[in-house]
């Protein structure tokens, strides 16, 4: 298998882009990616594209990417894998490049959550991820889906809402310097605990905002990487894991088995372990999910997440900084774009140019968990070819 490198990365700001459609956001992200290439890009060299989009605002996704970016002569494939869509798009494109079928692949992720009314989203998303007869009518909305896990996790682990709040506070602080982030303001633990309840145990400030945005990466094979940059970021490992789709069929809800499976696969492919990761972008759609993910990714032992966040290890300057971009919590979460944008952040971290730089970062990990908590995708990147 050929080695695959990321040589360009770009993204739009994540926010409520009421004034821009998917047909604007996608080409904006691709153009910014293009501008990031050290040696420039001739778009005619792009041989195929993968487009991660969860919903289909404005219609046929693959066609919209091709049409809006002037890429009418290449194959485009839409990837939809719930909230793991972004990193799964990276995985699929890296397979094609790694297999030697093509040398240059475009990866785009985008979604417009705010194309629907703020509350209308609940049913639209439930319709994508729930059994229509059994679970959908119960009102198992997205926050409730994760809260069922976190409630049990708090019950068994001894972690508290304060520990969840520490995640939110940290990620808001991290977002302060990120011009692409949606929520660039500091919050306090007291504010998180006092915020209106969304789905107990989540208050409003434990939750990701609803976001619009797009992100893009250019993946190339080791054979042509020199034509694009002298500072590539290598795709060292990818993994995807699944679980039972109904919550009542998940035996241990204090863990997300898809994350364990996906990270295990990605670590094995990269030839590293969790202790080798210098910086991580972790799926913190709800604060408690970041805690559980510390354990599933191997950053903490079982029920050791509370101690890890308390120690400051996951803050910039700590031993394993998590979500320097602000994470989903503060940067925002347009699902199709989220995983791709995590890789945009890691691309900058591993080239030493992030607005919230982790000193000397050599290995980065991006992680998504989503749908009915039944799918996870993990990508391991490094500035060393390995």
């Amino acid at each position: 298998m050929k080695r695959v490198a990321i040589v360009g990365a770009g993204m739009t700001q994540f926010k409520e882009h009421f004034g821009l459609g998917i047909k604007e956001l996608v080409p904006m992200a691709v153009s910014e990616m293009e501008a990031s290439l050290d040696k420039g890009l001739d778009r005619a060299k792009i041989e195929a594209a993968w487009f991660g989009e969860l919903t289909t605002s404005d219609g046929f996704p693959s066609g919209i990417l091709a049409d809006s970016c002037g890429l009418m002569d290449i194959p485009v494939t839409r990837i939809e894998n719930a909230c793991a869509t972004g990193n799964d798009a990276v995985r699929n494109a890296s397979y094609a490049v790694g297999a030697g079928v093509i040398d240059v692949a475009l990866v785009v992720g985008a979604d417009k959550v705010r194309e629907s009314s703020a509350r209308g989203t609940f049913w639209e998303w439930a319709g994508l991820t729930r059994d229509l007869a059994w679970d959908y009518p119960l009102g198992l909305v997205a926050p409730a889906n994760f809260a069922l896990h976190v409630a049990r996790y708090l019950h068994e682990s001894g972690a508290t809402r304060e520990h969840m709040a520490m995640v939110a506070v940290k990620n808001h602080r991290h977002a302060l310097t990120n011009p692409k982030a949606q929520l660039r303001y500091e919050i306090t633990i007291e504010q998180v605990l006092a915020a209106p309840t969304v789905v107990a145990p989540f208050g409003l400030l434990d939750c990701t905002p609803q976001s619009d945005g797009a992100a893009a990466l250019l993946l190339v094979s080791e054979d042509v990487v020199d034509q694009y940059t002298d500072h590539p970021v290598w795709v060292r490992g990818t993994g995807l894991g699944l679980d039972r789709v109904m919550h009542q069929h998940k035996r241990d809800m204090t863990s997300f088995p898809p994350t364990v499976k996906a990270s295990k696969a990605a670590y094995a492919m990269a030839g590293i372990g969790p202790g080798d990761v210098d910086v991580a972008e972790v799926h913190d759609c709800f604060s408690g999910v970041e805690l559980i993910s510390y354990e599933d990714l191997g950053f903490a032992e079982k029920f050791g997440a509370a101690a890890l966040i308390e120690s400051g290890a996951t803050t910039i300057g700590g031993s394993i900084p998590v979500n320097p971009s602000g994470g989903l919590k503060a940067k925002g979460h347009p699902p199709g774009a989220t995983g791709v944008a995590q890789c945009v952040e890691l691309f900058e971290q591993l080239r030493g140019h992030s607005t919230n730089q982790v000193d000397g970062a050599r290995i980065g990990l991006a992680h998504n968990i989503g749908g009915p908590t039944a799918v996870s995708a993990v990508t391991v990147l490094s500035n060393q070819k390995g």
């Binding site: 509350r119 007869a133 059994w134 009518p137 009102g139 926050p143 069922l148 789905v199 109904m246 009542q248």
Partner: protein
Amino acid sequence: MTNVSAVGTYLPVWATKAGRVTGPDEDVVTMAVEAGLAALGDRSGEVRNIVLVSRDLPLIEGGNSAAVLAGLGLDAHVPVVEQLGGAPATLDAIANAAAGTLVLAADLAPAGAGAVLVSHDGPSLTEPGRVTRSLPITSRGRDGERRDYADPRLELQRGLHVAVDALELQDKPVVVAGTTVKIARELCAGTPPELPVAGASAAVFALAGLEQIGAGGLVLAVEQASAAAARLGGVPTVVRNELAQREPARLRDNPGPDIAISLAAYDRAFEAKVRWEAGSCNACGTLAFPPRLRCFECGSEAGWSLTPLPRTGEVYSCVTVHVPVPGLPTPYSLAIVQLDGTEVRALVKVTGVGPGEIAIGDRGSLVLRRVAVRSGIPDYGYALLPDAVAGSAEEESR
């Protein structure tokens, strides 16, 4: 002559000054099933046919009967008559039933339901009388809108009194269904039991009232200008599923688009969902809920058979949704319940308690409720009734 072999009653937990009210997850079907299960106990094998009396039937075009049969665990071949009527119609149905008839009656305001199993044992119901006249003081037509003529003295004098006189009763009744406490006292010999309902199910609560009196007697049922009477020959066997009353939870209605439904998916799920049954793998017996083609355990795709699930369990995890969800009253609680004696867990709504009054480790029973109304279609399934609620009713009755 018929025999009142078993009487069951049901009252929802929620109450206002005007009486019991249904929760957002209850209707005539779910309440009739609660009362029916109370009456039947282990006698469901005796049921040959069902009469369901109400003026608040949810699905006028059909669909109620199948849910009633499934909720009661009865065979789909049992005939069900859905009858519009009030207290006289219910008393009439009981007094003229063939042995093997389960008469169900339910009302929305005040809310409650009753059931009578007519079989070969229990006190006799004799001397049936019936007078049917027209004085539509309250009217509700095809548009569903209720109109009130608002003339209580006319109703009393030209309605109730004329009807009761026409029955030519030999003696005074001991209980009256379908009217106010005050009028019932005027009509009765002695102090009649106060009934919590006034519609179709009031006739069953009147029969149950004879258990409180401790003797048989003449039962009168009235509605506008019609009346029915019958004499119960002794004290009936009564099982009351009457939950201790609580103030209605403060819920927020969230207007929104209709909640979508796939009737194909509804149809596939119906039997297991409304009968509370799992698929048991034909190869290894592992239970799957909901039923599924491929067995979790042995991987067999050779098929499965429906098998009843336990109706008690313990909360494994639970959450309360506070954020406004269009089309659902909020807040509401969801629980994953570990069913007793099985590996099966179920994801259900919580019923009978205020939002958030549920915790991991709590125990409860699974009861038929209307999980949602989807594009006008009631979607029935099971909800967790915490033991804290059911327990409080037992204490009250002691």
